[in-house]
């Protein structure tokens, strides 16, 4: 296949990828969009086979490895529970990053196969592109592994900080730039390998200081990185499909990170530099005094909600941990039978990744037109009888609106306290991730339901 023809086909698959993202503007068109994406991928792979035109023994091996990888992927995709989606996505990011590193290594070891020159005399531009691809890919890989371990609970979600951390990261970043510079001058493979190793280390150090609830930002950021890595490789291989995809994914991840930061009213750098929970916990411990809270049980909650005319559910990460989404849906069904109007309010950073709550509710068969974003529903709290907060905490804290001293001041929060009564399902009075006491616990219209989210919801269903 001629180079021009295959370039046109790569353009087509790039366009199909754009359409795949475009489809996600509404759930109705999204499934079709996914097929566009699959078609784009098939075109890109087939065209690559045809343009390489080598159908010898190597081709058989490629097919075998494709099938091995493909069946592992398919197995994972079918078996994974929806609650594990954040760590799955982090794991997948790490694979893209590592694949980018491998392709870059391979291009460095055998540049003539890619038409980039010969060993020891690789074209300057290609060398810069492949080393950038390798460095970003390596950071994506090791960073995503750390994110995966934290999300999976294998590693503690608490921020790991030490003195001079940011200084070391800065030094590593500068070393990477120097290594790329010297790599271009010397073409030495030792420098290339050190570049890869240092990037792996940088990836680890970048993610360890970031705590659990900041994971939505981290995942989006790594998503973005995996795109830039792909684009770097795309420039090396002079492949339009890769360049287009890399740019799409890169900007997609960047926008998601922006939305997540906005949802916490924090700057991107503030999140990346980490240590939100770390600094504030100390001051919080001192100011802890016993304030009275109203304590309720499942029967009280059932009574309140049954006699309400409208209920708003506010889910958070705790719902995901307790896997309470199905019980929640049963509760809502029972309420609807009693003529109660129920809707769901989702904060942008609820959960551990963008859209986390929406997927869980969709899994529990909650129709997506009952689920609303913060701006859409926030005014409705004033007219609602009961707000049922399940597994959310910081995103409902009224302190964010009233106390300029609070670290979460200015963060957009759900106006839960405006509803006539608030039911707050929580295991204990402990503060949330931000380490800040939630003012909502002590309000007169708040009834605390101390229990596991799932158990409490099930009990409420029973007494309904």
């Amino acid at each position: 296949m001629s180079a021009n023809l295959s370039a046109l086909f790569y353009l087509i698959s790039g366009i199909l990828f754009i359409l795949a993202l475009r489809g996600l503007s509404s759930p109705e068109t999204s499934r079709q969009g996914n097929y566009f994406g699959i078609a784009g991928m098939v075109i890109a792979i087939v065209v690559t086979f045809l343009s390489v035109g080598n159908f010898g023994t190597g081709f058989i091996y490629v097919l075998i490895f494709l099938i091995i990888g493909g069946s592992m992927g398919a197995f994972i995709a079918f078996r994974i529970p929806m609650t594990a989606m954040p760590e799955l996505v982090a794991g997948f990011h790490s694979l893209v990053g590592l694949a980018a590193v491998f392709v870059a290594i391979s291009a460095f070891l055998k540049p003539e196969a890619f038409g980039l020159g010969i060993i020891g005399n690789i074209k300057l531009a290609s060398l810069i592109e492949m080393s950038l691809g390798a460095a970003i890919g390596a950071v994506t890989f090791s960073g995503s592994i750390i994110a995966f371990l934290k999300l999976r609970g294998i590693m503690s979600g608490a921020p790991i900080t030490f003195k001079g951390q940011h200084f070391i990261n800065l030094i590593l970043g500068i070393i990477i730039i120097f290594l790329i510079y010297y790599l271009c001058k010397s073409q030495s493979s030792n420098i290339f390998w050190s570049l890869v190793v240092i990037s792996f280390i940088l990836g680890v150090l970048l993610i360890i200081p970031i705590g659990g609830a900041d994971m939505p930002v981290v995942i989006s950021m790594l998503n973005s990185y995996s795109g830039w890595a792909a684009a770097g490789i795309g420039f090396t291989l002079e492949n339009t499909a890769l360049i287009i995809t890399g740019a799409l994914v890169g900007s997609s991840g960047a926008i998601l990170s922006y939305i997540m930061c906005k949802g916490m009213n924090r700057s991107f750098f503030n999140v990346i530099l980490g240590g939100w929970g770390a600094t504030d916990q100390a001051s919080n411990l001192q100011s802890k005094e016993k304030k009275p809270v109203k304590n309720g049980n499942a029967d009280d909650a059932a009574f309140l909600m049954k006699n309400a005319s409208s209920v708003i559910i506010v889910p958070g990460y705790g719902m995901a941990v307790a896997q309470a989404q199905h019980a929640l849906r049963e509760m809502v069904d029972a309420l609807k039978k009693n003529g109660v109007k129920v809707s769901y309010a989702i904060h942008p950073v609820a959960g551990r990744m963008p859209g986390h709550m929406n997927v869980l509710l969709a899994e529990a068969n909650v129709p997506y037109d009952e689920v609303f974003e913060l701006e859409e529903i926030n005014n409705d709290f004033a007219n609602c009888d009961v707000a049922y907060v399940i597994g959310a905490n910081d995103v409902t804290n009224p302190v964010a609106k009233s106390d300029p001293q609070s670290p979460i001041y200015g963060m957009p929060v759900l106006d839960v306290e405006k509803s006539k009564s608030v039911l707050f399902v929580k295991r204990s009075l402990s503060p949330g991730y931000a380490g800040i006491d939630n003012d909502l616990f002590y309000r007169d219209n708040t009834l605390m339901l101390f229990a596991d989210a799932k158990k409490m919801t099930e009990e409420i269903v029973k007494s309904l």
């Binding site: 996505v89 694949a99 995996s226 859209g355």
Partner: protein, 100 residues
């Protein structure tokens, strides 16, 4: 003077960033998780690099170091392609409208 082909690729790259910017802002927030998994899947188009790495300029020995890295790249990218698209499909299947 002729324009370096690199400039054309750079133009495609920058225009695609703009396309991505506008397309992604129009994605509804409730589909942000599928957005991540599908961008994951499509960024695995890096498999074309891995295929070239394992096939192109193949000499007698198909298990040279560079080919092996290519093969590894293929496995990783394939996990992602199949896993990414299928899990997206599975998620999107769950988004239903209210039964009237």
């Amino acid at each position: 003077m002729e324009i370096d082909p690199f400039i054309f690729r750079l133009s495609i790259f920058i225009l695609s960033i703009f396309v991505g910017y506008y397309v992604v802002w129009s994605v509804t927030p409730s589909l942000h998780t599928p957005l991540m998994s599908v961008t994951n899947a499509i960024s695995s188009v890096i498999i074309v690099g891995a295929i070239i790495a394992s096939l192109a300029g193949a000499s007698e020995n198909i298990f040279e170091t560079s080919n092996i890295f290519g093969f590894l790249g293929i496995i990783l990218a394939a996990v992602n392609i199949f896993g990414g698209f299928l899990v997206t499909q599975r998620m999107l299947q769950m988004y239903k409208k209210k039964k009237k």
